[in-house]
Symmetry: C2
Subunit: 434 residues, 2 copies
């Protein structure tokens, strides 16, 4: 196999330019590992004149990415435009319809059109690869598609958003406020000017939707994911959790339950002594619980031009070997419809922080309402008052034993109705990692 694999790239942003540079500079080691040369032959981007650090002189240039996908003489098409609709979707469809293998880093595209594109790839005897779409440089897609074969997955979960993890890490280690950490994240380029997509949990949800499909053989249904961002997490919660032996992370979790598959993204308390609690800064991590392997965890850089380009490159090298695997691990026509578990039925422990007016009355109310809803408490801590003697600002922190989300919400509603609370109760889920 010494015929070169000819590659076209649509989208020359940070990742695209980094990939083009790698393909032009690492030719020896790429050829040795891939068993044949990999040659960049065509590109498409908006601005043709811009210097992107690679030699564009010998390459076919297309203004229209779909034209590249339809017309260029290529053996692999790389989509790095981004966005779930429009140009990205069109050019990926065009390449697959022509039977050309596609590599993409586009999680939104996969989350919204993954099943359709998996079918299209199968119909045309080609494949769609997307290692870079989830957890950047961590080879979690390869691991789940190929490495866990034969295992039944019971849960997949992880830290899938670097921006949130960076902020929570700084809040934990330096006791800083949410707003200050967000500003720093924006200054460092880890967060967008409008950070909603990251800190609201939506980016993590897109990635989780893909992992859920791989884990359970179901169709991707990212719209059914329960999503809660980190906006309501305070430095006080992080400190209180720390005293109780927990760390707070934005977790994305997909889990098989009796009523269906639970997909949820939310801040969660995890044991501070767990390896995942040490995953700090913009690093991502994914853990998979299975019947045969027990639990495995992968951690590494979740983003960055070179790390993402490296993941794209490993997909391209898989194309070079000539093997064609089903996009979502099993044949597209064997994927089961996704059956959503009711979030209200979620079972687990809870961390609850309440601002109370009147301590004695509040404690009685808390104890009664919890008992009425069958909730037993692991610990009750009164943390501090803002000013001595100011009863309106006492903070009561509860950690429950295993219970249901429904029971906790009912109890909190009743405590609130009793009139002892000085603000909205804070409720965070505790994730068991064992």
């Amino acid at each position: 196999m010494t015929t070169p694999l000819r590659i076209g790239i649509a989208g020359l942003g940070t990742v695209g330019a980094s990939l083009a540079r790698l393909l032009q500079t690492k030719t020896d080691s790429i050829t040795r590992r891939a068993g044949r040369p990999i040659e960049l032959v065509a590109v498409s981007a908006r601005a043709k004149t811009k210097n992107r650090g690679f030699d564009a002189s010998g390459l076919a240039w297309y203004d229209d990415p779909s034209a590249l996908a339809r017309e260029a003489e290529i053996d692999g098409f790389v989509e790095l435009i981004g966005g779930s609709e429009g140009a990205a979707l069109e050019c990926v469809r065009a390449a697959l319809e022509r039977g050309v293998p596609v590599v993409t880093a586009n999680k939104a595209l996969l989350a919204h059109h993954g099943v359709e594109l998996a079918r299209l790839a199968a119909e045309n005897g080609t494949e769609l690869l997307y290692e870079a779409a989830v957890a950047g440089g961590i080879p979690i897609i390869k691991t789940m598609r190929e490495g866990l074969s034969g295992n039944e997955v019971s849960r997949v979960y992880g830290i899938l958003n670097g921006t949130c993890n960076y902020m929570l890490t700084r809040m934990e280690r330096e006791g800083l406020s949410f707003d200050l950490c967000l500003k720093d994240a924006q200054d460092l380029g880890y967060a967008e000017a409008d950070p909603t997509f990251d800190i609201g949990g939506f980016d993590a949800a897109h990635k989780l939707g893909i992992l859920t499909s791989l884990a359970f053989g179901t169709e991707i249904d990212a719209d059914s994911i329960y999503v809660e961002g980190i906006e309501a997490v305070t430095a006080e919660d992080i400190a209180a959790a720390g005293e109780l032996g927990y760390s707070i992370k934005l977790l994305a979790v997909a889990q098989r339950t009796d009523t269906g598959i639970e997909q949820r993204v939310h801040p969660a308390l995890i044991p501070a002594a767990a390896a995942m609690a040490q995953v700090s800064g913009v690093t991502n991590a994914v853990a998979v619980d299975t019947d045969l392997l027990g639990s495995i965890m992968l951690a590494g850089p979740g983003a960055g031009g070179d790390a993402t380009a490296s993941a794209v490159l490993s997909d391209i090298m898989d194309i070079a070997t000539g093997v064609v695997l089903p996009t979502l691990g099993i044949p597209a026509d064997k994927l089961q419809p996704y059956v959503r578990a009711r979030m209200r039925a979620h079972e687990g422990g809870y961390y609850i922080r309440l601002s109370v007016h009147d301590q004695v009355g509040a404690f009685a109310s808390i104890a009664t309402r919890m008992a009425e809803n069958g909730i037993s408490l692991e610990s009750i801590v009164q943390r501090r008052r803002a000013r001595a003697g100011d009863k309106a600002n006492a903070q009561v922190i509860l950690v429950t034993h295993e219970t249901t989300e429904n029971a906790v919400r009912e109890a909190l509603r009743a405590i609130s109705d009793d009139g002892h609370l000085g603000g909205q109760p804070q409720m965070l889920r505790i994730e068991r990692l064992d």
Copy 2:
């Protein structure tokens, strides 16, 4: 592709029996993932009559594993006999010579004959797979052979022996002695009656030899590995390291240096806040530092029948897809000879524990000898005396800044010659993880 892939297994111990059960019970999910049925057709083991929890009735039975490899009508041969020579080596050679793909969990075989077998596989247009040989159920071989393509590795390191990690974890968490933890490990079946192979670091060295080859494209040279076991680590070292913010782990490290590739297995201090420091009990972990990806880490079960069988099964499923990759990541004829770095040149920080007779004289000697060898100290702690007023039993603990192994050994020799030490100095390397 609905033709079944026919498999023969040689060796029906824990892993072999577990694999046979999986192949007979998980047929639906295996077929769905592999794209074709995988059928166990032949087995070989010493005792034919033993009940191993699977149905042996329809299977061809061979007393001689090499006869199975040579004669059975199979599309894949699984070697689970163990040992680097004899039956295991013979039957693997026989299968490869016939062009039949081989899967093995045998680290000793790979460590000693990996390059020869890689060449034999290439010559016969077939392949040798060994995911289960390193770190049990963690897909590190797949990750290094396929997922890191395009990356230059600067270091690969990890916790590769579950027995040692189990013992060190208990010593750390419960303050127990080495001997007590070893006895418990033996009672639980984590350690052999003769535990030398595990606690002496030799098992980890076999695995490291394989990882080194994959990381650096060099021939396997497990005999050149510097190996130091955990026998000399005391509960006192672990406690002192903990106070200084470190955890002690048996690390296996391969690292590119100016003079060659350093391969070493030894107890090392790592920052207690690192994710790898939280890898506890029999869990294994491997981290890879690369130019593009930065650092990624994989953690999971290092042993166990089902976990190992699962890794073997994922290799079998790779055979089912029909792709043939070079055994050691790059073609066998492109592997470079291994060039060993001199361990004396190892650079890093050191933890040193000295038992001193006379404090004042000892301190002066330590300071002078360290300075003479260009070693600067990060911290000096006098930990305790066994009995108040008994100067002969003062313990002095030093942490050095970055220096060379040679300098430290010279300084310790000189301090010892000065006559202030009440016993052998303890010297442990500090591994930088950033």
